[in-house]
């Protein structure tokens, strides 16, 4: 385990990477905040604060995207997740009334612990596979334009991943239609209808 870390450290020292020490520490601080916020989501008793922690977590993720020069992804992360999805969450929590949950140790809690343990195992596995490689070379405007810009992402998405992308959008469409038909048209069993 430790030799991998040492290796990673040596790797970073060897090469001229995009990041300097200052940026590294920024990334570290933001990453830690993201982890703390996600802990807050599951440890908080009141659902409203949980939702707020989740928003904080998403903003931290957007910041991390920004640090890695994926500015388009960062903006989309904020617009879609923090701006739209979480607003709906808050909406529902506010409508249902935010009561504090009681703490209890039940089967669900055990499940949760198991899930956390699984995530940790995954983290260790990722460490075992190897460290993520930073992009080498100077972070010039041209270099950034080929990685994180809206154009680069669009080209990648619509030339290499067109079919999965369209399938995913179709899935979302099906979900939207399903929601509307569930909410708007009341379902009646066939037998009842024939009797009338």
């Amino acid at each position: 385990m430790f030799e991998i870390l040492e290796q990673a450290w040596a790797f970073n020292l060897d090469r001229e990477t995009v990041f300097g020490l200052v940026e590294q520490s920024f990334v570290f601080v933001v990453g830690m905040t993201a982890i703390l916020a996600s802990l807050g989501v599951i440890l908080c008793a009141s659902p409203i604060y949980s939702a707020l922690y989740l928003i904080g977590n998403m903003c931290c993720l957007a910041l991390l995207f920004l640090f890695y020069n994926a500015e388009f992804l960062a903006a989309v992360q904020v617009v879609v997740y923090a701006g739209a999805v979480m607003i709906l969450f808050l909406f529902i929590i506010a409508l249902l009334g935010a009561k504090k949950e009681e703490r209890d140790s039940s089967f669900e809690k055990l499940m949760g612990m198991g899930f956390v343990a699984l995530l940790f195992c995954e983290l260790l596995m990722a460490l075992g596979v190897g460290f993520t490689r930073p992009m080498e070379g100077q972070a010039t405007e041209d270099a950034i334009a080929t990685v994180g810009s809206a154009k680069a992402i669009g080209m990648e998405l619509f030339s290499h991943h067109l079919i999965p992308f369209e399938l995913a959008s179709f899935l979302l469409l099906v979900a939207a239609v399903g929601i509307i038909s569930l909410a708007k048209f009341s379902y009646r069993p066939i037998r009842k209808r024939t009797r009338v």
């Binding site: 409203i48 707020l52 928003i55 957007a62 500015e71 388009f72 903006a75 989309v76 904020v78 617009v79 923090a82 701006g83 739209a84 607003i87 709906l88 808050l90 909406f91 506010a94 409508l95 935010a98 334009a145 810009s149 809206a150």
Partner: protein, 340 residues
Amino acid sequence: MIDSVLDFLSSYMFLIVGVVKAGVIAVALLSMVPLLVWLERRLMGRFQVRLGPNRVGPMGLGQPIADSIKLLFKESIVQNSADKFLFFLAPSIVVFTAIVTFSVIPFGEAVEVGGQTIGLWGADLNIGILFIFAISSMGIYGIVIAGFSSNNKYSLMGGLRSSAQMISYELTLGLTALAVVVTAGSLNLVEIVNSQSTLPNFIYHPLTFLLFFIAGVAETNRAPFDLPEAEQELVAGFFTEYSGMKFAMFFMGEYINMITMSALVTLLFLGGWHSYIGLDIPILVFAAKVFLLLCVFIWLRSTFPRIRYDRLMTFGWKILLPIAMLNMFFYSVVKVLWPA
């Protein structure tokens, strides 16, 4: 010693320039707010055939100062049932997001000052317009949180209405802005403005302009779309329980959003700092256009009655959004067929 300090400073010049620019933008925006309140009250007075404030100072110009002093010294009441932390957090989110949104608005081309190229903007982002939508969508949280942290039915209703309204109209806003982005071929606001150097966009985009402006008025919660604070139904909407300076902060947020929205319309449709009539003072041209739009905002407020909530939602989802989608589709097809 001094040389080394100067060397250090010159290598971090971008940081110093950035901090100064941020300070200037924030202070200018915050001091614009009382002036705008004064303008609104004066103009509203004229629209309603009365005088408006004219007692304090010349033309009532002292009125906003007197008002802000009054608000600063008012007792700030926090009721017992409120969630204290969220109650204090909400107004600060509103003001913070409003100011940050404005930071990417450019007022003119970059200028050379003492060997430094200084852009007349807080930040020139490649994703400028997306950034504006991202941060302004975060501003909704301030209103929602204000709604439920007050622990008051009227506040909650106001907060929910406002979030529903803003989400609905944000779609139209985004789609119409996208039509302009498709035509200009860039998300960068400076490049969008420069693509209009010969003709402003609203000539090619009359429908887009109209849709964007309607959605923009709804997005800033201004009359006739000021449902969240409908006095007759909801007391004062989401800020019913707020008093003193925290109450004023919601107003600050609203007025700064108004300025940002006017600036955005100017950049996207009116050609930003290009004057087209030979007047070559970028900042003045830009400010004049923004001022004109602000007056239109106030004009709308004093002319139109408030529309009913269900009609507001129907209008947003069943009329504006389909038209905006067709509009976007039309301009994409045009762009593909005639790339120039």
